[in-house]
Symmetry: C2
Subunit: 412 residues, 2 copies
């Protein structure tokens, strides 16, 4: 049960000209579920991505990075993306790389392009061999149902422990040019993206030059998927991909284009919504928590403190219990690693309730006020540091019995 | 129920000449429980401590540090330590400091010494005012029952969410001199000590010069309380105190004494046992996990990786479930922050089972073997990095439903 996150409506997900989607039930881990996704791009599309910084980055991540680098070096453009669930193909060594490349070759043969023009992605259990034969066997069915209209199916096809598909769509008009954008994401555990979430794909129909798209994807990730955490576990497979199909009339050739900022903000806004959907559907989540740190000396120290609060099991269980045991938040701030933090300049608020003042309990703070806010399903923790003008926001969820149940049972 | 950690036997806890112990039921948070402890030292005793690095360090920690510094500056020696449970006196600002000092003054009046000669300690809920009147009212009873024989009562008096008291004792003979040492510790949650655990006290009857004791306490902490974690939450009140009563015949005047290493190793060994008792009694713990990282480029990077594994909620829930979902360990290694880690040189073992080889699954690894080890109550994860000769070990426990229950209910 996601927190205040209604199921996306298939009819609300707008097709994006220039990208066709197909899916299949390949039986990769379990039968009778969509577990294979193909996204085919029109000629002229550009693709940019950010990937996990986990040193155990998965074989498909390594292959996708190499294939994008080949494009940057003047190679043929990307033609399609392929995603499987049920197996992460991570911690799989040389045979894992061979399996990822074999997946690309099989899809390339079906689409009449080079294997290097395919970007592969996997998500699921780590340290288990990829059943590449099932993927190869499933690809023809996925290619056979390629259509512009499959975004809802795409969102379903990339789910693992997600309780619901995650997708969003919008159309913006920039200087008279209509731009349609649709994105999907997945993830519910092993979520502390370090460049992107488990998997996110966002396509729009403007034409965007590669260097601009490279910059845009980093901006969007830094303000969306890189601001969320469920359990502090950075996945081996995190990938966030931005696709500019070029099928629409808006063209952005360089970063100084007068339309760049408008497009960037619209894309970032949609990406932020997709990222927050992951938190709302976090494993066992019952609450959606926004943590904002203000008046910091740098964005980096604000993020450090925000993540320290967001990762504390004690803070997260207090939210689950609706218990205003707010000293746990102070403790998490104190061990965040900001070594010269002067706690006597620090204030803390829970929504509109002023809890801590100058590092101690606000004399006017009443437990009943804290209790009232803690019972809500959406809560903002705001901390002011009195050190400068920087700020940062991180979104997270609580830690419940259900989280333990899900992760104790995930493979069985 | 602590993991393989029998209840200490009161008769096995040896009195240490030169330190008398008294306790009381002061009703600080709840009635009818021992919640106040006084330890009175004989003239000639030396005291050294390590304290939390949490920036929100509690008022009593600030006062204890200041009072130890006064001794170092030539002030009168420490006469007694006083510990209360039920309230951490942290996040309490100026009034918290006044309350800690008032506690010292009240005990000093009873013992006929200066307030600066008292070291105060508190543990319990953060951000709530210390009920100092109840502490002051309880002190006469604690002083009245001062005796050499109260170590078991002392261990009980400092418990909070601990399910059982933690204490250990031993006598070593160093070059013909008998040294008796007894220690107690407490802690079950908010445990990732950064210099020491929530509370640990270890006394012995050798005479040790202050500079030697200062060095000894850091060594002992670094090899015991600084190698454990339950939930990654560094407390505001961590303190580990070493007391050399000087009542015995062994004297160590400087660090080059031929007997220093023998004493250091005996003290460290006892401290390690006390630290491990905290993990065995970790909130909701069902398993005791040893994580050893070998062949690292530095001890620091080994510790980083060990803590990354030890803090991963996904790894901890897999241990709880006895599920050999060991790819989660690889993911935690990968995001530990060792940026130039070459995973192709990495091997991983679960007890005697060789799981990962050169960064991928060992072809001979059988799930049944991993399953067998995961069902044990004591498990060692050993990772070899192939980068150098450094190593580090960290002890932790699993993450169970009971952890969530305890921490969702702690204050109620």
């Amino acid at each position: 049960m996601a927190v205040n996150s209604p199921l996306p409506v298939a009819a609300d997900l707008k097709p994006v000209n220039g990208i066709e989607i197909g899916f299949a039930q390949a039986g990769i881990k379990k039968p009778n579920r969509k577990d294979l996704l193909v996204m085919k791009l029109a000629p002229g599309a550009t693709v940019a991505g950010v990937f996990t910084k986990n040193r155990f980055c998965a074989a498909p991540v390594q292959v996708s990075k190499a294939n994008l680098a080949a494009v940057a070096d003047g190679g043929a453009p990307i033609v399609a993306l392929v995603v499987n669930t049920g197996n992460a193909n991570a911690g799989t060594g040389e045979s894992g790389l061979a399996n990822a490349n074999q997946t690309c070759a099989a899809l390339a043969a079906l689409l009449g392009c080079g294997a290097q023009q395919i970007l592969p992605f996997s998500t699921g259990v780590i340290l288990e061999p990829l059943p590449v034969d099932r993927i190869v066997a499933g690809l023809p069915a996925a290619v056979a149902n390629l259509t512009l209209d499959n975004w809802f199916n795409a969102a379903e096809a990339i789910m693992t422990t997600d309780t619901q598909p995650k997708a969003a769509s919008r159309t913006v008009v920039i200087d008279g040019h209509s731009v349609t954008m649709t994105g999907i994401s997945k993830g519910a555990g092993m979520i502390k993206p370090n460049m992107a979430t488990m998997l996110g794909y966002l396509a729009f129909d403007a034409k965007v030059a590669q260097p601009v798209l490279d910059q845009l994807v980093r901006h969007a990730a830094d303000h969306s998927f890189n601001c969320i955490t469920i359990d502090g576990d950075t996945s081996t497979n995190d990938s966030f991909m931005l696709i500019a199909t070029g099928a629409g009339s808006l063209e952005i050739a360089d970063i100084d284009s007068p339309h760049y900022e408008a497009l960037r903000d619209a894309v970032t806004d949609l990406a932020r919504g997709l990222a927050q959907m992951i938190i709302r559907d976090g494993e066992g989540a019952t609450k959606f928590i926004t943590i904002t740190i203000e008046q910091g000396g740098s964005v980096e120290e604000c993020r450090k403190i925000a993540y320290s609060i967001a990762h504390s099991p004690l803070v997260k269980t207090a939210f689950f219990a609706s218990d205003p045991n707010l000293g746990r938040i102070l403790a998490a701030i104190g061990y965040a690693g900001v070594d010269d933090l002067d706690v006597t300049k620090l204030d803390m608020y829970l929504d509109d309730v002023w809890v801590a003042q100058s590092g101690g309990r606000n004399p006017d703070y009443q437990e009943a006020d804290g209790q009232r806010v803690m019972q809500q399903s959406e809560i903002t923790v705001r901390v002011t540091l009195g050190r400068g003008n920087a700020s940062a926001t991180v979104w997270t969820c609580d830690l419940s019995h259900e989280y333990v149940t899900i992760n104790a049972d995930y493979r069985s």
